[in-house]
Subunit: 230 residues, 2 copies
DNA sequence: CGAGAATTTGACTGCCTTCAATTCTGGTGG
DNA sequence: CCACCAGAATTGAAGGCAGTCAAATTCTCG
């Protein structure tokens, strides 16, 4: 195992980057992505910043619990969300020395940070390098799928596709507790909160889903949703 | 250098995949991405298929001349273009064993194919592995930028951003010969050809660009374009 | 030079946004 | 335990931007 993975992050990292609380323990994670000594466990309150757009890349991250979003703020003040990361997902890869997106906790979240400074610091260990590479390619696929989702699709198609994605990534079969707000969903899909809300209400009227509460979605007619996602 | 790079592709590859003409010579490319013996040079006529959605991944590719597009066909018959690749660009990376997108020559194009079967076949050579990894991360950045371009932006912003991108990637300062049709541009930006055409005409009226011919764009006011891209 | 494709332009429609008001929800303090 | 409050979410009405349909024009290539 490459030594670079086991190095602790600078203590200054936590205070600079808005981590509300950093656990000193060096967690030994599930090690699917970075087997071995693991990285540093960090905990973030909802809406706190994990890293900012423009920050130097010092780590990549793995979600342990909670949900994380990566996003970009545009000059007109609008926010665009690039991705949501659920437990087990890896984020924070960058081509350059600095992050192009910022990462924030959607809900209270714990992550593990693995020291990493770009493609040049590819670990010597073949197996670790392969897994990192595979994770980066997985991210690439996800970004491509997101592009396909945003291009020339109706609000119905976007929201249906989003719901299907969330349900497939959730541990339950036909029910999800959405960690993100309507605004988050809107910024992810390139819509407004009103359109997202109206579309969800429409799906509810058509009895494709049930909304016991605003954040809880139960799927009643999966086929209808899939059909709407087209 | 890893042996996997120098292996010639199966001869069956060319006929199966729609290559109209394959040059037998084993080119020795600029070797920025895959230094060493290089891969197999292939030549494609305009609109011919390089690989199809669903094809097994056997190589990644590097554009030598011409332009290549990667795209996906949706169930409603619409096409979505994920990226345009110009000379020097690398494409064809995939997370899985099969391609999720298809690749086609926009104009007559030559590419070099490097044998590659997914993250597991990461070359043993450290330097080659790093360069591959860097190329994949670069692709990730590009895909993220494309998502940002598609989400909640006006037709003006999309077309302006597209023009700026093309001009910055072109060898000349303020002039581009667009290899792609209006339909290609529309499918890349999530617009219709009519809207793309109207927007370009508008930029011309505002004297931000000149259109000596449909495919030739000369930039008159770069600042105005940048401002429009916001 | 002529035929067909690509592009441009025009008129109208429709979906999503915008603006505005109301309802719902979760958390706090009496 | 309940009333209250602020933020989140929903709903409504009207307008705008891009899509659709249609026609004219330009370009390309045999």
């Amino acid at each position: 195992m490459s030594a670079s993975f086991s190095l602790a992050l600078d203590q200054s990292f936590d205070t600079r980057r808005g981590a509300r609380q950093a656990w000193a323990e060096t967690a030994r994670g599930p090690a699917e992505v970075a087997p071995g000594p693991g990285g540093q466990a960090l905990h973030f309150l909802a809406d706190s910043e994990i890293f900012a757009d423009g920050d130097e890349c010092v780590s990549f991250y793995r979600v342990v619990s909670g949900v994380v979003r990566t996003c970009k703020f545009r000059s007109d003040g609008r926010r665009q969300i690039d991705a949501f990361y659920l437990p087990g997902d890896v984020f924070g890869f960058e081509a350059g020395a600095r992050h192009a997106l910022c990462a924030e906790a959607v809900s209270e979240a714990s992550v593990i940070a693995y020291r990493w400074r770009g493609a040049d610091s590819l670990p010597v260990d073949d197996r670790a390098a392969q897994q990192l590479f595979a994770a980066a390619l997985h991210e690439l696929r996800r970004a491509q799928d997101h592009s396909l989702l945003l291009g020339r699709r109706s609000a119905f198609q976007k929201v249906a596709a989003f719901l299907i994605d969330m349900i497939e990534r959730s541990p339950y079969e036909d029910s999800v507790e959405l960690a993100m707000s309507r605004q988050d969903i809107a910024d992810y899909l390139g819509l407004t909160i009103e359109t997202v809300s109206r579309t969800l209400s429409q799906f509810e009227r058509e009895e494709a889903i049930a909304l016991p509460s605003a954040r809880r979605v139960r799927v009643l007619d999966r086929a209808a949703l899939r059909h709407a996602a087209a």
